[in-house]
Amino acid sequence: MAYWNPKIETMPIADLKALQLKNLRALVGRLYDNSPFYRHRMEQKGVVPDDIRTLEDTVKLPFMYKKDLRDYYPDKLFVASKREIVRYHASSGTTGKPTIVGYTRNDIETWSESLARALTSIGLGSDDVVQVANTYGLFTGGLGFHYAAEKIGAAVVPASTGNTERQIQLIQDLGVTALAATPSYMMYVGEVAQKMGVSIKTDTKLRVGLLGAEPWSDWMRDRIHDWLGVKGINCYGASELAGPLFSECEDQQGIHFWGDLTMLEILHPETQEPVGPGEKGEMVITMLTKEAFPLIRYRIGDISIMHEEKCSCGRTHPRISRITGRVDDMLIIRGINVFPSQVEYSLLTNPELGNEFQIVIDRKGALDDMLVKVELKPEAFTDNINQLNALRERVEGKLKNLLNVGVEIELVEPGSLPRFEGKAKRVVDRRMY
C-alpha cells in the first residue's frame, strides 16, 4: 500500500481530530478578523471565535449556501488580496451567471495534494499514463486531474472531452493505464471501442477509471469491471470546494475525506442536527485550509452517509458512501451540474418562445441526452422551414453556452405542454442507472 503523505494519511484518529480542531480554530479566527461578510454572519448567531473549543462546537457556526457565493462575490467573500490570487475557475450558477472561484498558490497546492493522495491510494504513480477526459478550462475537472497526475509523476494525456474515436486510439497508442472521465463516458468509450473492433479489456492497458461528477450504481461499476476490465474508482469534488478532491482507495470502502483539509458533517434532513456515522443525511463541508475563497459549513446539497472507522487500507480519515441524492432540484447531465432555473433563464431571452417548457432527460445508450421542449409563440410561426431551423439552432446555442452541455431543443405547439396549478414539475427524468 503506497501513501502519498503517510504521516497524515495514517495519523491516529485522536491526533487527526486534534489537528482538525486546530485548523478549524485558526480558520474561524482568520475569517472573523478578515471577512466582514462572515464576521457579520457570526455576529448574527451571537458566536465569537473563542466559543469554538471542541469539534462539537462547530454547530454554533453559521452555514454557507451556494446563494452566498453568488450574492457576495467577489469582494465580501475573498479574504486574500487580489494579488495573491493565481487562478480563477467557474462553476454552474443557478441562473444566468456562473459562480467564479479564486485560488491562492497554497490553494492550488492543497488541491493537488488532496487529489495526489487520492490517486496514490488507488495505486497510481510515475509508471502510469493518465488520460484526462474531463473538460479543461474554467471547469475544474480537467485541470484538477491534470495537476494531480502530474504531481505524482504520471504521464498526462490532456484529451479533454469529445472525439471518442481519437481518445480510444490514444489509449491504445500511448499505453494509457488510467482514464479520468464521467462513469457514463467510460461506458460510452466501451461502446465506441466495440464498434471500432477494439476490446478495452484485451487490447489496451487501461485498468483504472477515475470516475465522478455524476451518480452511478454498483451495477455500472460491475459492468465496467467485467466488460472493460477497468476498476471504476468513485471520485468526488466540486468547484466551490476547489475541484475534484477525494476518491475511494484501492479497497473501495467509500471515499476518503482528508481530515486535515476538510471537516465533514452529516445533517438530519428535517432537524438539521448532525447525525452519527452510518446515518444518511445532508453533507455539510468545511474546507479548513482554503485561503482565497473560504468555505465554512457549506451546504453543498449532496446526501450521503459517513463512516469513521479506520479503513482496511490503513487510512484513518473518514469515508462517505455513494451520493444518494440532492436536497434541491439540481440535475447532473453528462457530469455537468444543471439547474432548471438556468434553462428557464436562457429560454426567456428568446422573444419567439412562450413561457412553458419541459426538460426530458434520457439515457438510451451510455450517455445522457437532454431534450428541452419549449412552446413556440403563435406570432413566431413562419412558413419558412429554414427560419424555424435557425431559431431552434439559436435557442440551442444560447442554452448550450450557458449550461456547458449539449442540449436538443424541440419547438412545440403552444398549449401542448402540461400546465401546473401548484409547483411546476418541469423535469421528466427517464434515466435508470
Binding site: K97, D127, E150, A155, V156, P158, L174
Partner: protein, 433 residues
C-alpha cells in the same frame, strides 16, 4: 524593463554564440549515439558529429520534416523512456491521424521558460490577470500559455475557446489585463462587445493581447491597438517544436528566438541554400534542449525572415518576422492547421459522396468561415429530406472530429464542381487578412 530571465535574455553576443555551439555539439552527439533514425540519416549524408565545429557546420546535417514524426513509431522516434515522459500533445496530421508528440519534465520546463520569457518581454508581469482563450487539451496553445503565465506569477483565467459573451463578462468582472488568443478571436470579441454595449478600450482593464496560431497583418495590429486599446503582440510556435514559444517584446519588431534553446536558419525551399538575414525563406528550426522528440534542422513549412541585429530592447536573440506563407497547401482556419488532404480523407469515407469537393474560406466578420462543398453521388439520392439532412449532419460531425473545427457542409449536384486536368485546385480562399 520587463524581463523573466535577464541573465539569459541579455547575454552578450560572444557568450551566446559559444553557448549555442556547445549545445549544438552536445545535441548532435546525443542524437548520433541514441537515435537510430537520425544516426542512419547522418551516415547516409556522410556526416559525423566531430565535423560540427562551428554554427555554420549545422548546414552539413540532414533535415527533418513532418513526415518523419508521422511515419516513425513512438519507440523509434521518442528518445525518452515511457517512465520519463510526463506529457503528450497532438498536432494536426495530414490525413486521418494526428501526430503525437511527447515531453519529458525538462521539455515541459524548457517550453514554459520560453513562454514566460516571451510574455515578460512583452510587458506582462506577475501583477497581470491573464485570460487564456486558446484551446486547452491536446492542442498546445492553451496549456502552453497557461504554464508560462503561471510560471511568471500571473493570475491565470483558463477560459479556453468559445462562449464570447461569457469571456467578455469575465474580462470585465475580474479586471483581466492580458488576453492570449488568436488575432481573429480578439477582433471577434471586439465585435461581440459592441453588440452587448461593452467598450473594451474604456470599460475594461485589457491592455495586452498575446496573439498567434494564425497569420495576421500590421493592418490588423493597428486596428486592434486603436480600436480596442490593446497592445497586439505576435507569438509563434508549433506542437512539433513544443507549442507556442516565441513572442514579440515591447518593441514589436519580431519575435525573439532564444539562442540558448534554439538554432534558427532560413532556407530557400527549392534549392536548400541557407539564406542571409532579411531574406525570405523557409524556417528551419533546431531545438537544442529537447529530450523526448528530437527536432534538428526541422523544416517547419513556414515562410518568414529573421533579423539578427540587436533589438531596441537590448536583447541579442534574433527576431523572427511575421509568417508570410507556407511551402505546402496547409491552411489555417481559426488558428487550427487544416490540410486539404484531411478533408478529402473524411469525405471519401462516406459512400454517399462523389469524388469532387471544394473548400471555400471566407472571413465576413472577424472569424474565419469554412465551407466544404461536396457532390452527392446520384445513386445515393433518396427522396427523403430528413435523410439528406442527417447525411449533412454526419459529414459535419466527422469533419469536426478530424479537423477540430466546425465546417459548413453543402451538398451539391454531381458535375457542378470544377474538374482539373492536372493538380486540383480545391481551395477557394476569399479571406483578406
Amino acid at each position: 524593463m520587463s524581463t523573466w530571465n535577464p541573465k539569459m535574455e541579455f547575454m552578450p553576443k560572444e557568450e551566446l554564440d559559444k553557448l549555442q555551439l556547445k549545445l549544438l555539439k552536445a545535441l548532435v552527439h546525443r542524437l548520433y549515439d541514441y537515435s537510430p533514425f537520425y544516426r542512419e540519416r547522418m551516415d547516409m549524408g556522410k556526416v559525423h558529429p566531430d565535423q560540427i565545429r562551428s554554427i555554420d557546420d549545422a548546414a552539413k546535417l540532414p533535415f527533418m520534416q513532418k513526415k518523419d514524426l508521422r511515419e516513425l513509431e513512438p519507440n523509434q522516434l521518442f528518445m525518452a523512456s515511457n517512465r520519463e515522459l510526463v506529457r503528450y500533445h497532438a498536432s494536426s496530421g495530414t490525413t486521418g491521424r494526428p501526430t503525437i508528440v511527447g515531453y519529458t519534465q525538462k521539455d515541459v520546463d524548457t517550453w514554459t521558460e520560453s513562454v514566460a520569457r516571451g510574455i515578460a518581454s512583452a510587458g506582462v508581469s506577475a501583477d497581470d490577470i491573464l485570460q487564456v482563450a486558446y484551446t486547452y487539451g491536446l492542442f498546445t496553445g492553451g496549456l502552453g500559455l497557461h504554464y508560462g503565465a503561471e510560471r511568471l506569477g500571473c493570475t491565470v483565467v483558463p477560459a479556453s475557446t468559445g462562449n464570447s459573451e461569457r469571456q467578455l463578462d469575465i474580462i470585465k468582472r475580474l479586471g483581466v489585463t492580458v488576453i492570449a488568443c488568436t488575432p481573429s478571436y480578439l477582433m471577434h470579441l471586439g465585435e461581440v462587445s459592441k453588440k452587448i454595449g461593452l467598450d473594451i478600450k474604456n470599460d475594461t482593464n485589457l491592455r495586452i493581447g498575446i496573439l498567434g496560431a494564425e497569420p495576421w497583418s500590421e493592418g490588423m495590429r493597428k486596428r486592434m491597438e486603436d480600436g480596442l486599446g490593446v497592445k497586439a503582440i505576435n507569438i509563434y510556435g508549433t506542437s512539433e517544436l513544443s507549442g507556442p514559444l516565441w513572442c514579440e517584446c515591447i518593441e514589436q519588431r519580431g519575435m525573439h528566438v532564444w539562442c540558448d534553446q534554439t538554432l534558427l536558419e532560413v532556407m530557400d525551399p527549392d534549392t536548400g541554400e541557407i539564406l542571409g538575414p532579411g531574406e525570405k525563406g523557409e524556417l528551419v528550426v533546431t531545438m537544442l534542449l529537447k529530450e523526448a522528440v528530437p527536432i534538428i534542422r526541422y523544416r517547419t513549412g513556414d515562410i518568414a525572415t529573421v533579423d539578427w541585429e540587436e533589438c531596441g530592447c537590448g536583447r541579442l536573440h534574433p527576431r523572427l518576422g511575421r509568417i508570410t506563407g507556407r511551402v505546402d497547401d496547409m491552411l489555417i482556419v481559426r488558428g487550427i492547421n487544416v490540410f486539404p488532404s484531411q478533408v478529402e480523407y473524411v469525405l471519401m469515407s462516406n459512400p454517399e459522396l462523389g469524388n469532387e469537393f471544394q473548400i471555400v474560406l471566407e472571413r465576413e466578420g472577424a472569424l474565419d468561415e469554412i465551407l466544404v462543398r461536396v457532390e452527392l453521388k446520384p445513386e445515393a439520392f433518396q427522396d427523403n429530406v430528413a435523410m439528406l439532412e442527417s447525411l449533412k449532419t454526419r459529414i459535419h460531425e466527422r469533419l469536426k472530429s478530424a479537423l477540430m473545427i466546425s465546417a459548413d457542409v453543402e451538398l451539391v449536384e454531381p458535375g457542378t464542381l470544377p474538374r482539373f486536368e492536372s493538380k486540383a485546385k480545391r481551395v477557394v480562399d476569399k479571406r483578406k487578412i
